[in-house]
């Protein structure tokens, strides 16, 4: 039997023509999944943790409230749309926001409460009473999800 001599073949150059396509695909993935944070948090908040969580699908039907504590004098602060508001104004501002939505969607309006876990319930209860006064019944307590 005769064997053919294996010839040394020069390494063929790999085509990199499809590299941009791959990168673009990744790029589009990130562009689509990116959620641009619309508001800058002005408070440092450590959310409580929970397991039984749900997601909100329609983010435009929500208003986020950040509730934290001033570290110096321990006065509770509420941030909404890049400014601090008082509990008394809260109901009015949020109902205005709800009124700006199309009428068929107003029932789905949800207030997302992003509050620090060390806050006393006093503050949260006051916010809830205020929301109830203005018929803003749907509420979500934002949490950090625990993984199983």
């Amino acid at each position: 039997m005769r064997f053919k001599r294996i010839k040394k073949i020069a390494n063929p150059e790999m085509s990199t023509a499809s590299l941009p396509d791959i990168v673009f695909m990744l790029l589009f993935f990130f562009m689509v999944t990116t959620v641009i944070q619309d508001e800058k948090p002005m408070l440092e908040i450590e959310k409580p943790s929970a397991v039984q969580t749900e997601k909100i699908e329609q983010k435009d039907l929500t208003a986020s409230l950040l509730v934290g504590m001033n570290p110096e004098n321990r006065i509770p602060l509420i941030q909404w749309e890049e400014r601090f508001i008082s509990i008394e104004d809260l109901g009015e501002l949020l109902s205005e926001k709800r009124a700006s939505l199309p009428e068929s969607m107003q029932g789905k309006f949800t207030t997302i409460l992003k509050a620090d876990k060390a806050l006393p319930m006093e503050v949260i209860t006051k916010i809830k009473q205020q929301l109830r006064e203005y018929q803003l019944f749907k509420i979500q307590y934002a949490v950090e999800t625990e993984s199983y």
Partner: protein, 189 residues
């Protein structure tokens, strides 16, 4: 003038990858994956008068300012609340200190006995919000367990599976049989 039909020269696409990478890196760096999840609740309307409720139908949870729990008069760790609440919601043994049952007919489920349970939370003004959320989480878990159990019994499938399969009629039936009734006592501070 002579117009020659010249072939357009091919554009070098070699730098395309560099541009795309640059954009990609930019998005990678600026992306903050925000996981917006939480516990959904519906606040009760202002004047909610349930009328007198027999003591046995209410699971009373008291929380003090040191974040300690008193469930039906017993000190309870928050880890055990889920199991306690589940036992309360289902009352499978028909025990006299657990909720009464009422016979109802629900589509999909037929005639079943459902418990008239209500869970009541009363917290102190200085209870931590974190503890409150932990309690809410435990109660949600207990309701989920109860619903899973009922669903397994009737449809041979857990409630979570029903939701995943979007079997809305069955989901509704289960929800009707075990409604999530968490009442929050009017604060006295």
């Amino acid at each position: 003038m002579k117009s020659t039909n010249r072939q357009s020269p091919a554009i070098n696409a070699g730098s395309m990858a560099d541009i795309a990478f640059l954009l990609l890196v930019f998005f990678l760096v600026t992306t903050t994956v925000t996981k917006d999840e939480g516990l959904n609740r519906i606040l009760p309307p202002k004047s909610e008068d349930l009328g007198p409720i027999p003591q046995r139908n209410v699971l009373e949870i008291l929380v003090n300012k040191h974040n300690q729990l008193l469930v039906e008069g017993h000190f309870t760790e928050i880890e055990n609340l889920r199991a306690t609440a589940l036992e309360f919601i289902l009352n499978q043994e028909n025990e006299p200190h657990l909720p009464q049952k009422k016979i109802v007919t629900i589509d999909e489920l037929g005639t079943i006995a459902i418990s008239k349970q209500v869970i009541s939370i009363q917290n102190d003004a200085l209870t931590d919000y974190g503890t409150y959320v932990a309690i809410q989480d435990a109660l949600s878990g207990a309701y989920l367990d109860a619903r899973n159990e009922l669903s397994q019994e009737h449809f041979n499938k857990s409630y979570s599976e029903l939701i995943r399969e979007k079997d809305l009629d069955k989901v509704k039936a289960i929800r009707e049989a075990i409604p999530q009734r968490i009442s929050e006592a009017e604060p006295n501070f």
